[in-house]
Symmetry: D2
Subunit: 313 residues, 4 copies
């Protein structure tokens, strides 16, 4: 385990909930001994991984949880992140780690770009539906809601308890950095450029993410066709669960687990449907999917370390 | 003050935060002496007011906070509430109490049907825009989020702290009883039948409501035109505030107050806009607007008793 | 899995967070087939277990999570619970399941009375200190704070989100039913009758419990002696962790886990000390300790099923 | 209104809940024009007021909300705050602003040191009881619980939503800086040096404070005598309310208001009692009491601007 400012500290002093675990002290990256290491998770600020990764042994398997390698098109990266991409060659060999969609590619990858939380919650339901031509790829309206842990542990006034508790608000309306990642995935599925409406909202809760997605049905399709397709696409999956008709996915029921729950509802306006997906943004939306990917890359059973059931209440 | 099960109790025993107020004990409605009463607020379960109101003196001004008289079309009431309307004659003279839109009618009314919380948050921004032909009245997508106090104080498992805290979910997808009320108001504005997509979500907070509304712009219109129209429509209003460009309305900033904050944002998809409105569901969405209406009916200054500033944090 | 009102339902309909688990439907107790069952957890309302247990096969190992068998003195049970004890003979063979204190007795028990949450948080730190004569057993002041899940899932107005969020209060001041259980354990340790001051407080959180305990030191003893004794008493324990000097136990760091964290602090008033213990009231304070006890009774490794690390945030 | 980093900004940009108020922009203190100002509230970091105040016109009435002038004994200030007192002469004329206890002195004061939140919640119940010799002044155990807004709006990791929500912990055990202020007030009442045990706890809520106080009764006294004395002491007070026997004060019922609710309970240990007081830490514990004091100093009705009722829920 490496650290920057906190190098030299015990894990128990930084994360007191792990105080009983017998873990090594954190070291600075430059002092890390990789001789005995097979794989790493990179959980660095955006822009940093592109640099750090150059100094790591080529033999390492890497799952990168930053946004540094999520966008294939380097110009998109530079536009949305406002800085030059410093590892364009490496970008070419990176596999995007949306596990259930790109499992085979991930198995053979050396570097995996772990998806963002919002893109995970949006692509899991939409990719199979677009591929099957069941919904229109225009006018997709995504209203997402996230717990505040997605913002990390940085000390910002905006994320103080007193600012967050008992209130909600939208942020980054249409300009959130997860937009190009979502559009990349949906465009791949549609084989044409997709532009989405995406509005994230901050919720007074630590964990949990819901995307409520408003779509136009393809001609002759109804909402049950969507549900059926999703059940088919995910019937062998352990972590993506399509609920029974009428059952409402709740973020609470994913808490601490790698599950994604999805369901489809008829809209009151004819020719439309409403798709709801929920995940724990810190698990399937981050570290859980990262572990799932590493398991694939290493040839381990895919659910190794991911058997925690949701915590309720 | 009247009560049913709690008749005979002091207000301080039912609402301990009012223990220091010198208020009369609650009495059963049948024991209430109306001889010295000019006006009443009816806060009864749906279906009850239609009955109770028949026994009240005709001289009383009435603001009814239930849904009993909100729908002009009695067949709509019966469809959505699943029971016969028992005061159809009275319905004809009732005025719908969306204050800023129907102020003149309210001034002369004997009975006002106080709007629902969701319909208030939706109609305040949309009615002026539809009237001005700035947005299409089809494919209006309303994604609303509400604090749990909207569900009242009834003892239900679904509203326990342990069920609500740290999680969110949609409910009544497209079938919420506020749908016909919203459609009635928007249809009036459009002079044609409007059907909306409306999905409410329950938030882990007591108070506050946000409607995020996704609309198609009329030909040649852009989001700034919407903002300008709203500023014009509400420039003389004390309680409806259109924010400066880019400022995001937050529910927290309405807490305990009668304010509605609104703003309009450009959508990433050309030809679309995103409208956000926030209120305190218990004030502008219920008791505050009720008082505002009664003030008008009685000829009092409209803001009497409504000068509380939002409480933060 | 048995149920009363909910018999016949799937586990996923009652606990949707378990919807992905392949579990049998719930059956009424009378329809349960015990032929293939080795052990049961009884999680029934107080007073019920004493009856139900009579009808269960004598060969079953039982961990009872109610209060029905926690008090050895039947008159104490009747005084605090206001009803006759209906299984006084069985009471004699029941072992009190405070695992770390009574491990050997639990191993050989057929029926274990699983401790209450408050008594667990209080006895784990106090029993070793009283036994070692390091603190006075008079004037022990216990100020406890609990998350609301301790009240169960019953639909009560008092436990609605709107009543609990953003506020705290004491309840059952000095009259909480866990008092006799605490006094029983401390009296056993002291070999004399101990009377405590115990005031529980309800916290706006789902899980977590802290007991802040104010004690008088025995002559010549200082707070470090207490810490040292506790470290000694629990040095081989997996789930009871005495923190390093100065480190403050936090309920958050036990969330979802079977840990109890304890520390001792000097008081500003000479001759006194402050002891803080925290647990997750639903795990070490209920189901976790129950499983720990059953593991002992069955000869399984004691931590089977209890390896979940605390969830943060 | 003055500001430091935020000078030049509108109040609506710093406190968006006040965006509808027609208020002047914030200016740097050095640019403030005091020619037309009668009185000021100083809400500056500890240590700053002692300097700033020297540059203010001598004619100004001042209510200081920092700790700079709360401790009469300058050596105590220097010990607890770790820095020299830079306005020792001024200290002599400052009046401590615990309104109900020192009303007459406050009326004539030029500078009032507004009490801390914890000291307010502790002294209001204890001072009359100590003065009346109804409780012992030794072994007073104060277990206090506070909402997180008491920590201010500074961006600290410790106060992030994710650190605070769904968990509790003690802090500053016996070393909190409000200790000398509490001991000063109780020593004055007792006419002898009082040392208290004081342990504050951080609650997952924005506002609200409870002090649960464990005391030894004087010989021959019982808990009802305490209640009676408090009712007598506060019978003419608007903001300090002693509840009826058995009624439990709840922080929620003070939210947004200047009230302090108090009650006394018998302890299970003979000769002891439990006193509970609750306030809103930001109102009676800070700005509300400050306004109450200024009203007195200016000869205004004491409740001017303080008539807001508690907000529930």
């Amino acid at each position: 385990m490496t650290a920057d400012r906190k190098a030299g500290q015990s894990i128990g002093s930084v994360f007191p909930h792990l105080v009983s675990q017998d873990l090594p002290k954190m070291v600075a990256i430059k002092d890390a001994d990789f001789s005995d290491v097979d794989a790493v998770f990179c959980c660095l600020p955006h822009g940093t991984t592109q640099e750090i990764i150059k100094g790591l042994p080529k033999s390492l398997k890497i799952v990168d949880l930053s946004a540094d390698f999520r966008l294939r098109d380097i110009s998109e990266y530079e536009e949305w992140y406002g800085q030059a991409h410093s590892a364009p060659e490496l970008q070419k060999e990176v596999v995007y780690g949306l596990t259930e969609i790109l499992r085979e590619e991930i198995k053979g990858a050396r570097v995996v770009a772990n998806p963002g939380c919002y893109p995970t919650s949006v692509q899991l339901p939409l990719v199979p539906l677009i591929k099957a031509n069941l919904i229109e790829s225009k006018n997709i309206i995504i209203d997402s809601k996230s717990g505040v842990s997605g913002a990390g542990r940085g000390a910002k006034e905006a994320n103080l308890y007193t600012e967050i508790a008992e209130g909600i608000y939208s942020y980054g309306v249409t300009r959130h950095r997860h937009v190009p990642e979502i559009e990349q995935g949906l465009s791949d599925a549609a084989n044409s450029k997709v532009t989405v409406s995406f509005t994230p909202h901050l919720m007074p809760m630590s964990r949990g993410m819901q995307s409520t997605i408003y779509v136009e049905l393809a001609a002759g399709v109804n909402f049950k066709d969507l549900n059926q397709q999703l059940k088919l696409s995910y019937e062998d999956e352990e972590f993506v669960v399509v609920l029974e008709e009428g059952a409402v996915p709740r973020t609470h029921n994913t808490q601490g687990s790698n599950f994604c729950f999805i369901n489809v509802f008829p809209d009151r306006i004819p020719g439309r449907a409403i798709i709801i997906s929920v995940i724990d943004n810190l698990v399937k939306g981050a570290s859980g999917q990262a572990l799932q990917n590493l398991n694939l890359m290493m040839g381990f059973p895919e659910n190794t370390g991911l058997l925690y059931q949701p915590l309720f209440p």
